[in-house]
């Protein structure tokens, strides 16, 4: 028994050692964002700053010439709306593909799955041209639509709907309920944890997306946080303490959401094998 405990301690120490590689860049980032510029590269690394410049750094990021508050607001708006529409579209499709026996179901689902294999960049140019024709270019609505039809969300939610026993659905049908009623009052409540998982994942992916805002937005007043921090980094060039303060600002909401919902996220990924 004693050697069991010893080996557990040794393994924990080894895992902790590897964990430092994963944690260190984040700690370094936070630490650099709290220091004056000239201390950023001090070696050996000082995780706790000797001179603090936290308030000045963050004020410069948030209240300086770049409106991080605006970028933040844009990101929150786009991310929340994308998440909501995507959850609705994907759960409807997921239910349809698993619980309604319609003609051509398997073939249609296969087509949807195949589109997941296609890299987005392979059809980006016509999509961009189309957006300009339809007047969706340089609009948040356009960006929201791009993230709303998720193959992976449909796939994940379909997996969970498949886990609901058909007897539930059939007995409700015998009682005269239509698919819409069953969907809202029986199926959706049963897969609530899966919906939470997917909503968190969609939130994270949309918040972090760089490519779509880069291509489909032009006006700086519409920029999301990812474009904002990039622009900020370009202009501030070598001011690493400020860039790190921006980076911390971009990551923080996600970390909070992730830590609150970590059980959901980790289980959801494990169950569906999802990838953004």
């Amino acid at each position: 028994m004693r050697s069991d405990k010893l080996s557990k301690i040794v393994v924990t120490i080894i895992m902790g050692g590897i964990g430092i590689f994963f944690l260190m860049p984040f700690l370094w980032m936070v630490s650099a964002s709290l220091k004056p510029e000239m201390d950023v590269f001090n070696y050996p690394i000082e995780l706790i700053p000797t001179t603090w410049r936290a308030i000045e750094n963050y004020t410069e990021v948030w209240a300086g010439e770049f409106s991080f508050a605006l970028y933040y607001w844009n990101s929150i708006k786009v991310t929340l709306l994308t998440t909501v529409t995507s959850v609705i579209v994907s759960s409807m499709a997921g239910y349809g593909f698993s619980k309604i026996a319609f003609k051509g179901r398997e073939k249609t689902f296969l087509v949807v799955l195949i589109t997941y294999m296609v890299p987005h960049q392979a059809f980006l140019v016509p999509q961009f041209i189309m957006y300009r024709w339809f007047g969706l270019f340089d609009m948040h609505l356009g960006l929201i639509l791009l993230g709303s039809f998720s193959v992976i969300g449909t796939f994940l939610l379909r997996q969970f709907f498949m886990g609901i026993h058909n007897e539930y659905i059939e007995s409700a049908r015998i009682d005269g309920a239509g698919h819409f009623r069953i969907f809202f009052s029986i199926a959706m409540p049963l897969v609530r944890p899966a919906i939470a998982t997917y909503a968190i994942l969609r939130f994270i992916w949309t918040w972090n997306d760089y490519q779509n805002p880069l291509i489909f937005l032009r006006s700086e007043s519409l920029f999301t946080i990812q474009l904002g921090i990039r622009k900020f980094a370009d202009i501030n060039g070598e001011f690493y303490s400020l860039i790190m303060a921006g980076a911390v600002s971009a990551i923080l909401p996600l970390l909070i959401i992730f830590i609150i919902g970590q059980k959901n996220v980790i289980e959801g990924i494990a169950a569906g094998g999802v990838k953004g």
């Binding site: 499709a93 961009f128 972090n208």
Partner: protein
Amino acid sequence: MKTWKETATGYIFIGPMMLGVVVLTIIPLIATILLSLVDWNFVSGLNQMKFVGLNNFSRLFNDDTFFTAFKNNILLLIVVPVTMLFSLLIAIVLNKKVFFKDGFKVIYFMPYISSIVAVAAVWRVLMHPTYGPINEFLKSIGMDNPPKWLADSDFALLSVMIIMVWVQIGYNLIIYIAALQNIPKDLYEAADIDGASAWAQFRNVTVPTLSPTSFFLLVTGVISSFKAFDLIAVLTQGGPADSTSVIVYYLYETAFINLRSGYSSAMAVILLAFVLLLTVLQWLGQKKWVNY
């Protein structure tokens, strides 16, 4: 009558999704194939479009930059098995007795959920050739000329690969841990009774039972390694000297900076064909090593 109604309801449910897939993916995809046959710049209007047949493709085969980008994509594939291997090893350890198991999961998973733009900004500083903490550390342990990482065309791609592994381990790890928990315990008990060593159990029980998971991670990993745009765009913009350019980045430059819609569409077609080919090859190859 009843099945007719069921079918109509079914299409109403999948309707919004299908509309999105057809309008935003399938139609643009067909348009890409058509655009690959023309010489055109989307700013100049439809009447400036010139049909050039397969000309874009023959130019592509003589384009050194495209060749470099293609080669870099092939090299980036190494990231996939390396990530899988590290993740599997960590997953096996975490699945055994260890304190703070959930805490470790969160820590290893943090890079995957973090914004690539922010992560790239941090790594660029950590890998700074003269003042960066990584090189300071290498100098302090006696390395006089540490590599210049992202600034050196011989090391830039390797640096990108290191960051990619770092980002993706968490995701692979979570999937492997879930799969490990599904291996029936009696398989190991039987192996114990037969006196199999830890290594033999790993080779003959763990690896074969995990093979469907590994197959899944391999296929999705390969596909997403061809999709990787954000990291390159933020970290290196393909440089120095195209050493980290990949097809999707060169495609982006050609389409949106140099405004050559036709030529970039030809690239897209090659990219698409290559990803499909690799996926099909993996499906065919799975019979040899995947046990269901």
